[in-house]
């Protein structure tokens, strides 16, 4: 029964793996629900910001903020939002592929690229393949506060202010549904206003306190921060969903392997019994 014993240990070890993947699946499922809630909770702020920025665009103040002015690009900034941990299927790989495509396009236009990476996966990816990484932050956890991102965003905004970069993009995964996450690269700066709706056509302006410049500075900075924050939170929801699906697939696979091995084991055991019986019978006949 030597073969049977080996098979049995193999089954045991696969069962243990299955236990782990099942647990991870369940953890990811419950984390996903919370991440989705957080994702939803960040939306009102960004939506309100967008309205205020849109109002501001229509209000014709005497001061035009540099964040709103399109200028010729020589160097672009890209914020890449990745996950901190693996085991989430092709999520990061697809994102890097999308980011790389965008980068290749910019490079063919003669633009240089500054990178800001968020999450350990992006850190190690660009660590391996190079790229001018100007700032990085990792280990954000499952529920990052906005203060963990202030540094990274500020580096890029300062670079934009000082004219070191002329455009700013963000690459993150978009949460479509539990089964589908799609990578996207979006422009943050200069702010692309949506030319929509509204009855505020006539000429008007806010009262600014203390003055237009300072108020706008802060407002636009918060706006970009909130967009990046939203990207990060959405990416976490994607991570959890992708991990849940990947772990479910792994558990299913383990189940198949186990049933396959079980069959082989049973056959081996049956063969051993038959052999033993025939030996006994043969022995009895000989006596």
């Amino acid at each position: 029964m030597a073969g049977a014993k080996e098979i049995r240990t193999q089954i045991k070890s696969i069962q243990n793996t299955q236990k782990i993947t099942k647990a991870m699946e369940m953890v990811a499922a419950s984390k996903m629900r919370r991440a989705q809630d957080r994702m939803r909770a960040t939306r009102p702020y960004a939506a309100k910001m967008r309205t205020v920025v849109a109002h501001m665009g229509k209000a014709h103040p005497e001061y035009r903020h540099p964040f709103l002015i399109e200028r010729e690009a020589r160097r672009v900034g890209l914020i890449v939002v990745s996950t901190d941990r693996g085991l989430c299927g092709g999520l990061n790989i697809n994102l890097f592929k999308a980011a790389m495509q965008a980068m290749a396009e910019w490079q063919s236009q003669g633009l240089e690229i500054d990178l800001s990476v968020i999450g350990t996966k992006a850190k190690s990816f660009f660590g391996r393949f190079g790229g001018n990484v100007v700032c990085e932050s990792a280990h954000l956890g499952d529920a990052p506060g906005i203060e963990t991102l202030i540094g990274s965003v500020k580096v890029m905004l300062d670079a934009y202010d000082e004219g070191r970069i002329d455009r700013l993009y963000i690459a993150n995964n978009e949460f479509v549904n539990t089964m589908t996450q799609s990578p996207q690269v979006e422009q943050l700066l200069p702010v692309v206003g949506d030319e929509s709706d509204e009855q505020l056509k006539h000429h008007w302006d806010y009262i600014y306190e203390p003055d237009a410049k300072e108020v706008m500075d802060q407002l636009l900075m918060r706006y970009i921060e909130s967009l990046v924050y939203q990207g990060v939170v959405e990416n976490i929801a994607c991570e959890m969903a992708a991990r849940m699906v990947a772990m479910k697939a792994a558990s299913d696979n383990a189940g198949e392997l186990i049933s396959g091995l079980q069959l082989v084991y049973n056959k081996a055991r049956q063969a051993a019994i038959t052999q033993e019986l025939s030996e006994i019978v043969a022995g009895a006949a000989a006596v």
Partner: protein
């Protein structure tokens, strides 16, 4: 009917309050302001302090904000609250830290992005994923 104004208080992380009120008080940078319905459009920064909302037909409600922005339209007041304590030098410190991390890591790697190498590796990973998927389909789940 008494005149009311719609109030939204939101922070980057969540929605804090939404409803109609008779009057709103907020700690603007130039001093506390009271906003009644049909106030002229106003955009101002907020100091740390409390925002008081006289909710229609109910008691006054208080919310602490550690700074942020206040936008006033004739019928809508929006408070964009900061959750984190923000100060110029704190922000600066955070930015420096992020930069430092990158610089330390940059020391032992080249700044030219190696497209070819990255592409190969990504293609490999994609192929692996595809194969796994195919295998799964073949085993007929």
């Amino acid at each position: 009917m008494a005149m009311t104004i719609h109030v939204d208080i939101v922070s980057a992380e969540e929605e804090i309050f939404s409803g109609t009120a008779n009057m709103v008080f907020a700690p603007a940078e130039m001093g506390e302001v009271g906003i009644a319905p049909r106030h002229t459009p106003l955009l101002t920064r907020l100091k740390p302090g409390e925002v008081r909302v006289q909710v229609e037909g109910k008691e006054e409600q208080f919310f602490y904000v550690s700074g942020g922005m206040l936008e006033v339209q004739p019928h809508v007041v929006t408070v964009l609250a900061d959750t984190a304590v923000r100060a110029r030098d704190l922000d600066e410190a955070a930015a420096l830290k992020a930069k430092e991390h990158a610089e330390r890591a940059m020391k032992d790697r080249k700044s030219e992005f190696d497209f070819a190498k990255a592409k190969v590796e990504l293609a490999e990973a994609m192929a692996q994923l595809r194969t796994i998927k195919k295998l799964r389909e073949k085993t007929g789940v």
